[in-house]
């Protein structure tokens, strides 16, 4: 039996004016378990707390009920007070007789009666309280960033600058991501590589940052503060420490001249050798051998690169290496790609080389791109005089062909492309077919208006139904001008498609490894759409960049900074205090049905084979186990559990039932 002390607060006149405090004290004194009851003017004050501490010691109390204001206000205060007196803080319950009683009721008798009932419910609950210990788990002071695009780079730099060690895992041979493919950035039109490459170099030289390029995450285990991550470092076939990045091997690779391997970085608009760096400013400036295409790996003959390498860095024998590293936090910054356009046959993307995507246009306009920055048609290398841009290709589609969301960046980059082209070649005729022009953002609408007003880009409200390649090499565009209510048949030289963005292909695999949830479109979901936008519901996993949803570079950078702060906030702690009000499974009743794991938003429930012993039972069976470091105590599993094996500590089935009972007495 508990020895409970009840303390009723007057809160000046806030409570005492409508609740007869003395009467409450008298009425609860004889409740089961109560050995002491008292009232005081301000229970939360220093003197009030001392009164409580004295009573705990004098009467050897094992539980406390404080009848006062809302527990949201002072539960912490009273718990700390109990702890001071050597009582477990979770043996304290607060009966809310101010916000939910005295302040809303006028009739003194009625309010007093309700206060007594609320106090009784709290007393009944404390009778069933058990001391709970806040768990502690150590924190590994190292963060992992998955993805080395601008999102990952910025997050890594911010964490590293705060003094913590960071590793970046990047699938490609170089960091830089999508942004390194871009020409200029909106709305200020500064050159993408001019602002990105210094950051890439900084990452490479930062003492706190380790780069794993051409590497992939293979497996993740553990939980917040204590992740074990397996990283596969794919064989580069080039010794990173010996290579000087001179580029001789690339220049001499016989496959380079044959022009058979399309360059991924240039979206297939030019070819690359089998030993290659994706682009000139690659970080690290060490080439890789593409073993699938390399003649040496296919036939065992060639070996030109090894012969020619002045620093003897080429190593055909190199093998994949797997390292396991401990991390405290993981940031997912896996970025995006554009959708496959095979299902949009009407735009003739696969038929005509002159129908290109916007990201290909970025490469065509980039000074380091396949055409040296000179815009030309891929079919006849002539400069296009007339260009049609088609917006929302695959965005805002509700069928299986496209994506239901707005890709957010296309309106702005199309205005950017139109202006850049007009800047270089003012006599180019540009038509943009749009559904809506969406330009929320600082200086964004002004930017778009400039394309219309200053550069006279022809914006047509309507969509293109079909692009028909013509025998003379031009493209016939059939579209509609909805404002004129006229169908347009127009000959043009080049069509640029604003294809929808989508999360990078590998994200589903990574999310599964991390037990981070993803939505119907494979974007990672945030813990709270408004209040916790850079955290995954899974503790210790953070989100940065396009992996979480469509966003432009400024937004990505700010989200990257936000994620970094959250990571630093976690790594700054030596120990993580875990909420002791977590779910607990009683193996006696659990039959391992997995219902609880399915409703758990945090992936906190796993299953293991346990020896179950009890009356008439002695067997090994699969039962649920709750990871206290991951469980947030929502109790979803407890009400889903069909056998009643799951219970929530601090809000147990018996505790809530007894509250119901004492209210309905």
């Amino acid at each position: 039996m508990q020895r409970i002390g009840v303390f009723v607060c007057h809160c000046g006149t806030n409570i005492a004016a409508t609740v007869d405090v003395k009467k409450v004290v008298e009425l609860v004194r004889f409740e089961p378990g109560v050995v002491f009851a008292d009232d005081y003017m301000y229970m939360c004050s220093e003197a009030g707390q001392e009164k409580i501490i004295a009573a705990i010691k004098e009467h050897d109390l094992t539980g406390l009920v404080i009848c006062s204001c809302s527990p949201r206000m002072h539960e912490k205060t009273f718990r700390a007070c109990a702890e001071k007196a050597g009582l477990n803080p979770y043996m304290v319950e607060v009966a809310n007789i101010r916000e939910q009683c005295s302040w809303i009721h006028k009739d003194r008798e009625e309010a007093t009666e309700k206060a007594v009932i609320l106090a009784r419910a709290a007393i009944a609950k404390v009778n069933l309280n058990t001391p709970l210990q806040e768990g502690e788990s150590p924190v590994t002071k190292r963060a992992l960033i998955i993805g080395g695009g601008i999102a990952g780079i910025q997050t890594a730099l911010d964490i590293a600058d705060a003094g913590y060690e960071v590793d970046i895992v990047e699938r490609e041979p170089s960091i830089g991501g999508r942004m390194s493919q871009f020409d200029k950035t909106f709305p200020t039109l500064d050159c993408a590589s001019c602002i990105l490459t210094p950051k890439m170099v900084e990452v490479n030289q930062h003492p706190n940052i380790t780069l794993y390029t051409y590497s992939e995450v293979e497996g993740v285990s553990g939980y917040v503060g204590n992740f074990d991550v397996k990283i596969r470092k794919k064989a580069r076939s080039v010794d990173m420490s010996a290579c000087t990045g001179c580029g001789e091997c690339q220049a001499k690779c016989p496959l380079g001249k044959m022009g058979k391997i399309p360059s991924e970085f240039d979206r297939g608009l030019r070819t690359r050798p089998a030993i290659y760096m994706p682009f000139a400013q690659a970080v690290p400036a060490v080439p890789v051998i593409d073993r699938e295409n390399c003649t040496y790996f296919k036939t065992g003959k060639c070996g030109v690169c090894a012969k020619i390498c002045p620093s003897k860095a080429v190593n055909y024998e190199q093998e994949d290496e797997i390292v396991t590293v401990k991390y405290g936090a993981i940031v997912v910054a896996t970025g995006f790609d554009i959708i496959n356009l095979d299902k949009f046959g009407e735009y003739a993307y696969n038929e005509s080389p002159d129908v290109i995507t916007s990201i290909e246009l970025e490469r065509l306009m980039n000074a380091s791109g396949p055409t040296g920055g000179h815009l030309e048609r891929m079919s006849d290398h002539k400069q296009p005089k007339d260009i049609v841009f088609i917006q929302c290709v695959g965005s805002r589609c509700d069928d299986e062909k496209g994506k239901p969301y707005c890709s957010k960046v296309c309106c702005m980059y199309t205005a950017k492309h139109a202006m850049l082209i007009k800047d270089h070649w003012p006599d180019t005729n540009i038509t943009v077919f749009y559904i809506d022009v969406r330009t929320p953002g600082k200086n964004f609408d002004e930017f778009y208006r400039r394309a219309v007003e200053q550069y006279h880009v022809n914006y047509v409200k309507g969509q293109v139904g079909k692009v028909i390649p013509q025998p003379d090499g031009s493209l016939l565009v059939q579209g509609v001008d909805l404002l004129d209510n006229k169908q347009i048949m127009k000959k043009t030289d080049m069509v640029v498609l604003a294809a929808a963005v989508e999360p990078n292909k590998g994200v589903r695999k990574i999310a599964t490894m991390l037990t981070a949830s993803i939505d119907n479109n494979d974007f990672l979901t945030e813990a709270h759409a408004k209040l916790r936008p850079v955290e995954s519901p899974t503790a210790g996993i953070f989100l940065s960049g396009m992996a979480q949803g469509p966003k432009d570079i400024p937004e990505t950078v700010s989200q990257a900074g936000a994620a970094a702060v959250k990571v630093v906030g976690l790594l700054a702690k030596d120990k993580l205090k875990t909420n002791p009000c977590t779910a607990k499974c009683d193996p006696m009743f659990c039959n391992g049905c997995s219902t609880c794991a399915n409703v758990c938003p945090y992936g906190a429930i796993t299953y293991e084979d346990q020896q179950v012993r009890g009356p008439g039972v002695n067997e090994t069976r699969r039962v649920a186990v709750v990871n206290n470091a991951l469980c947030q105590g929502c109790g979803a599993c407890t009400s889903a559990c069909p056998s009643g094996a799951m219970d929530l500590q601090g809000f147990s089935n018996r505790q809530i039932t007894t509250e119901v009972d004492s209210i309905c007495r």
Partner: protein, 148 residues
């Protein structure tokens, strides 16, 4: 409650389950804004509306409650992302069963109330009390497992 005076009006007994993050805070706001609702409502704090086990509601009706209301965060705002969705589905089923058992649908309700909606909380409680009052005393469910 005294039954001896004949003219005493019927006072229903209402149990409200409020989630800690939204509706319990909404109830606190109703309090600090001094928005009154009948003292018949007694609030039980739960971490999430998804924590409300149907057993609690059955127990309340078994012990003589006249109405039970479950308050949670608005859809999409659940502190634990999905708890309120589970609560909504679970309660829809439970309420139709309760109706079959003689506990009318007016006596049970799921309501979304945010921490900023003190007014909504108080209005909801007033409305719900009136409704339950108009339905009168509820049938008392019996527990056939262990009759005492």
């Amino acid at each position: 409650m005294s039954m001896n005076e004949e003219k005493t009006e019927f006072r229903p007994l209402i149990v409200a389950f409020c989630c800690n993050w939204c509706s319990y805070a909404g109830a606190d706001l109703a309090g600090s804004s001094r928005l009154s609702y009948p003292a018949d409502v007694k609030i039980i704090r739960v971490p999430c509306s998804g924590r409300v086990n149907p057993m609690f509601i059955l127990r309340a009706f078994e012990r003589g409650a006249d109405g039970v209301i479950i308050c949670g965060c608005h859809p999409g705002d659940c502190h634990y992302s999905t708890g309120n969705y589970y609560a909504r589905r679970r309660m829809t089923l439970l309420f139709s069963m309760l109706d079959y058992m003689g506990v009318e649908n007016g006596r049970t309700r799921v309501e979304w109330c945010s921490a900023a909606e003190g007014v909504k909380f108080s209005n909801t409680m007033n409305e719900f009390c009136e409704k339950v009052k108009s339905l009168g005393k509820s049938v008392r469910l019996g527990d056939i497992r262990c009759k005492d």
